[in-house]
């Protein structure tokens, strides 16, 4: 699928230019949309859930101090850091980078790529494929029976 490749290419470009070791796009409720980078040793499914939770909690904090939301969240470690920014209301860009990368650079690239990512996400959403709903449900239900009958 062309648009899917375009999306990965865009994230790869952002990763390469910024020098980050990983880039993820996640939904507001913690679902992973796509990822690129050296993330073999990172539990990205859990990371997506936690980052979304963290961002949501920050939104509540923002509300308490009279802001609608904080659009950027930065988690600084000793060697590794995470830069989280909103792409759209429902989607977030997560950039993981090492200590030797400058935060300002990461921030600039995240900002530069945000509209491009948003546009590609919009194209992906528009490119919905036809799926046979009934067949999908029937097979999914039989898998549920299978998995939850084991044990």
């Amino acid at each position: 699928m062309l648009v899917a490749k375009e999306f990965s290419d865009l994230l790869n470009e952002l990763q390469r230019k910024s020098g980050a070791f990983g880039v993820l796009v996640i939904t507001r409720d913690g679902k992973l949309v796509d990822l690129v980078g050296s993330l073999h040793n990172v539990n990205t499914i859990a990371l997506a859930a936690l980052v979304a939770g963290m961002f949501a909690a920050t939104k509540e904090v923002a509300r308490l101090v009279g802001e609608e939301h904080f659009s950027i969240l930065l988690q600084q470690g000793e060697k590794r850091h995470i830069h989280i920014s909103l792409i759209q209301r429902e989607v977030m860009l997560v950039v993981l980078f090492e200590n030797y990368q400058r935060i300002g650079l990461i921030r600039n690239y995240a900002k530069e790529y945000t509209p491009k990512i948003a546009q590609t996400l919009h194209l992906i959403a528009k490119s919905e494929q036809k799926v046979e709903q009934e067949k999908f449900q029937e097979y999914a239900l039989s898998l549920i029976d299978q998995i939850f009958s084991e044990g």
Partner: protein
């Protein structure tokens, strides 16, 4: 809110275990984690305090497999039950496709179940989700205790007609599978591509 990733060909669905403090939400997840074949699940994530009370949420991903070219995944969450974690509960409920409401069957904790249900209804309202639009399954947990409420008590008081009900003793694994099976099936039955 189901999520279809047409680029990666994935369908991700979220099920939340809700209920009062110490009713057995995490115990349900732990049993599933222990029992389901490893090929069907990822790592369990427990965010708890020093005395093992959930502080933010627990998280457990289940991989159903490939259906009509799409990888189907369920992501199971629990909410923290303690009343002062109300903000966390609200956040975790965001985007839920199905709910297991775990009832503490112990007689003296009946009111806490009602309070938790009302809290859940308020949070659903916040996300503009009608309780009629989202599959909810009731699980009466801790059926092995001596002083327990009768099945039907909660439904009668809260006027929940036709809601699926399961008896469980999650610590022994009893009733855990029928509950998750029912909620997942209902979520799939409601799920539609493109909305």
């Amino acid at each position: 809110m189901s999520f279809v990733n047409f680029a990666k060909k994935e369908v991700i669905l979220k099920v939340v275990y809700y209920g009062p403090a110490e009713c057995g939400k995490t115990t349900n997840l732990l049993f599933l984690h222990k029992t389901i074949s490893e090929k069907y699940h990822g790592e369990i994530l427990l965010l708890d305090t020093h005395n093992e009370r959930t502080i933010f949420f627990d998280f457990f991903p289940i991989y159903l497999g490939e259906v009509e070219g799409f990888k189907v995944k369920f992501q199971l969450y629990t909410v923290p039950g303690q009343s002062y974690y109300y903000a966390s509960r609200k956040l975790v409920l965001d985007g839920a496709d199905g709910i297991v409401f775990v009832i503490d069957s112990e007689k003296q904790r009946l009111d806490e179940n009602f309070e938790s249900w009302r809290d859940m209804m308020n949070n659903l309202k916040f996300y503009k989700i009608s309780p009629k639009e989202i599959p909810i399954v009731l699980q009466y947990n801790k059926r092995d205790l001596p002083e327990i409420i009768d099945i039907g008590t909660v439904e009668k008081y809260l006027v929940l007609n036709g809601i699926p009900v399961f008896e469980a003793c999650a610590i022994k694994g009893e009733g855990v599978f029928p509950t998750i099976k029912e909620v997942c099936k209902r979520v799939i039955e409601r799920f539609k591509f493109g909305g």
